[in-house]
Symmetry: C2
Subunit: 364 residues, 2 copies
C-alpha cells in the first residue's frame, strides 16, 4: 500500500440526534446501532484498513472518548489518537489532523471520514475511494464523495456539480459548482429534480498541504490559533498547546469554512449504499425490514395496529414492542430512557434539546 | 379475635388488562404496582390480619402461582392454601372455599376479597369491614361492600340500593335492589346521577352456610360438581377431586351466578379510598402525581410536550420517559415488553388480546 496515504477518522460527535440510543456518555460511533456486529468506528477502521496502511490511520476525538476509541480499536497506537479538549465541529478537527500529518509527511494525502457512517457495499466503497484518492494525489484539489440523493432530506448538505466539459470532468471526477448547507424540503426537492445535486457524504480527500493552504486562505481565524505550533507536535507540550488553541478557536464546519468558498472542490460520485446515521429518518430502512405500513422495528418481536411509518428501536433485542395508533413516530427505548416523539427531525431536535435543562444530566 | 371469622383471599387472576406490567408469569397481585413497598397480596394479608386470626386467612389461587403466594406470605400454612387447577372465575373459587370452611367450622363467617385491591385508609377499612362482618354474623344475608362512584367507569359492576325504610336499612347496611354487570358509559352516567348506585368492590361477607345454600339454589350447575366431596377435604384425595370438579365446572362469576339472582344481598357503604387496580384507568391517580395536563408517570423523571391524560409506567424506576404528542395513551415499559396504546379500556383489551396469537408465548 502507498505509504503517503493516510486516513483521519473523526469520532468526536455526541450523536445527540439519536438520543436516547446514543448518549453523550456513549455516542453512536461507539455503538453498533444498525446491528452489524461491530461498533461503527471499528467498521470504519476495518473498511479503511484494506486501502490504507493501519499505522497511517488516525482517530481524532474529544478527550473523554479516548477509552471508548481504544475499546473499539485496541491496536491503535496512541500517537495516532489526536485528542481534542472539546468538540469544535469539523474544521478545527481537520486542521489539527492536517498540521499533524503535514509534519509527519509533507506528501501526505488524507482521507477524512466520519466514524459513524453505514456503508453496505464495501467493494464498491473501496473502488470509489481508491479512484478519488488517486485523483487527489494527482491534482491540487479538494475532493468530496457525493451520494446520489434518494429523497429531499433537509438534514444533508447538497453539492451542485458543473455541466460537462473536458475541464470540469475527468477520470470520473466532476468539478463542484456550489456547496449548499442544509436546505429546506421544498428547495431540496428542486435540487433533486434538477439532477445536478449530490448529498455531501462528509468524506473528503486531499493532500495535507492543499487543505492547509485552503484553510489558511478561507479560514484564517481558525488556522492562526494553530500557527507556530508545529514544534509541539508529538512532544509533551502538545496537549497544553491544543488546549490553548481550542480555547481560542471558533466552532465551525469545514463545509462552511472552506468547501463553500474554495474553487478547488471536486466531487467523485459514490456508487455504494450509504447512510450517515445522522437521524432516525436517515437510519430508517437500515435497522430493520419495513412492514407493509412502513413501520420498522429492530427487536425480535413487534405488534402494531393503526400504526404507520414508525421507527421502533430498543437496545434490548428480545423485547416485544407493541404499538397501537401512532403515525410517523419514533419509539426509542434503552435501559435508561424511553423517547416517544413524532419522527419529524425538527420536532425531535427541539424536544430533545429540552434535555439540556437542569435535572436531566444523568440521561443525556 | 373471633375464631369464627375467616378471610378468603382470591389470588388466581392473570391480570391481563395491565399487561405488560402484569404478566401471566407474575400477575399484578404478586407485584407492587403502586409502589407501596409490599406486593398486593401481602398488603391484603396484612390488612385482614388485624381483623381476623391469621390461621383463619385462606388464599385460593391456581396451582402455578403457589410459589408466588408463599413468597409473599411465607407464614401461610399450606392447609390454608387452596389450589385450583385452572381459573374458573370467582364462583367456583368461592364454592371451593365455602365448602372447605363449612367443613372446618359450620359457624364460619367468611370475608371474600380480591388479592389486588389498593386501599388507602386502613383505619376506615377496618371499621367498615368490622361492621359488615358483624351484620353478616347476625343475619342470614349476603353482604357486599359498596364504593361510592367517582366517575362513570364501565369496568365496574354497579349495585342499586333500595329506598330507605326500617326493613331495608339497619345498622348502616342497606338492602340491595339490583346487581348490574358492567354497563356502558352512558348508562353508568345515569346510574351515578340517580345517587342510588354503588360500585361493587368485589369484597363479600357471609356465613359459609348461607352462601352454600344460595349457590345451591341459584347455581346448581356449579355446586353439583362439588357435591359429595366433603370427605376428600384435607386428605390426599383433595387434589384429584378438585381437578375433576374443575374440569366439569363452568366458568362463572359470583356476581352473575348468585348476586344478581339472590334476594339476600345487602350492601355496606365503604368509607375508604379504593382502587380495584383492574385497568390503567382505575389505577390512574394511584401510581403518581398528575401534572397540569393530566399526565402521570411512576418513574423518577419524565419530560412531556403536547401530551395529556397519559399514563407512563416503567418497572425501571429511575428511567426517564420523554413523550411528545400523545393524548390519552398508556405507555407501559418493562424489561420484556413495551406497550403504547390509547388508554381506552376496550381498545387496550382488544389490542392486547392479539398476544394470544402464536409467537407471543414468551411475552404474555
Amino acid at each position: 500500500m502507498n505509504n503517503n496515504r493516510y486516513c483521519v477518522i473523526m469520532a468526536g460527535g455526541s450523536g445527540s440526534r439519536l438520543w436516547p440510543a446514543s448518549t453523550t456518555a456513549c455516542p453512536k460511533q461507539f455503538m453498533d446501532i444498525a446491528d452489524t456486529g461491530k461498533t461503527s468506528i471499528r467498521s470504519t477502521f476495518d473498511r479503511f484498513s484494506s486501502l490504507i496502511p493501519k499505522e497511517n490511520i488516525l482517530v481524532v476525538t474529544v478527550r473523554k472518548y479516548k477509552d471508548l476509541v481504544l475499546q473499539s480499536i485496541p491496536e491503535l497506537d496512541e500517537s495516532n489518537l489526536l485528542l481534542e479538549p472539546y468538540a469544535r465541529d469539523t474544521a478545527p478537527c481537520i486542521a489539527y489532523a492536517a498540521y499533524t500529518l503535514y509534519k509527519r509527511n509533507p506528501d501526505a494525502t488524507m482521507t477524512v471520514t466520519p466514524a459513524d457512517h453505514l456503508i453496505e457495499d464495501e467493494e464498491a466503497f473501496r473502488e470509489s475511494v481508491t479512484k478519488a484518492i488517486g485523483f487527489a494525489e494527482d491534482n491540487d484539489i479538494l475532493m468530496t464523495l457525493g451520494i446520489t440523493p434518494t429523497r429531499p432530506d433537509p438534514n444533508f448538505g447538497y453539492i451542485q456539480i458543473t455541466g460537462g466539459s473536458a475541464a470540469t470532468q475527468k477520470e470520473g471526477a466532476i468539478k463542484v459548482k456550489t456547496f449548499t448547507e442544509k436546505p429546506d424540503v421544498s428547495l431540496a426537492k428542486v435540487f433533486i429534480g434538477s439532477g445536478e445535486f449530490f448529498w455531501n457524504s462528509g468524506i473528503f480527500i486531499w493532500k495535507a498541504g492543499t487543505i492547509i493552504r485552503e484553510m489558511e486562505r478561507h479560514m484564517p481565524e481558525v488556522t492562526r490559533v494553530f500557527s507556530g505550533w508545529e514544534h509541539a507536535i508529538g512532544t509533551p507540550m502538545e496537549e497544553e498547546f491544543i488546549s490553548r488553541a481550542y480555547t481560542d478557536c471558533i466552532k465551525i464546519s469545514i463545509d462552511y469554512g472552506v468547501m463553500e468558498k474554495t474553487d478547488k472542490a471536486w466531487l467523485y460520485p459514490a456508487r455504494f449504499k450509504w447512510s450517515d446515521v445522522g437521524t432516525w429518518e436517515s437510519l430508517y430502512g437500515c435497522i430493520g425490514e419495513k412492514d407493509c405500513n412502513g413501520n420498522i422495528c429492530n427487536t425480535a418481536k413487534s405488534l402494531t395496529e393503526d400504526c404507520s411509518d414508525t421507527v421502533m428501536y430498543s437496545d434490548t433485542k428480545d423485547k416485544l414492542i407493541a404499538v397501537k395508533g401512532l403515525d410517523n413516530y419514533v419509539v426509542i427505548d434503552t435501559g435508561r430512557a424511553l423517547l416517544i416523539c413524532p419522527k419529524d427531525d425538527r420536532k425531535l431536535k427541539e424536544f430533545t434539546a429540552r434535555l439540556s435543562m437542569p435535572g436531566f444530566e444523568n440521561y443525556r
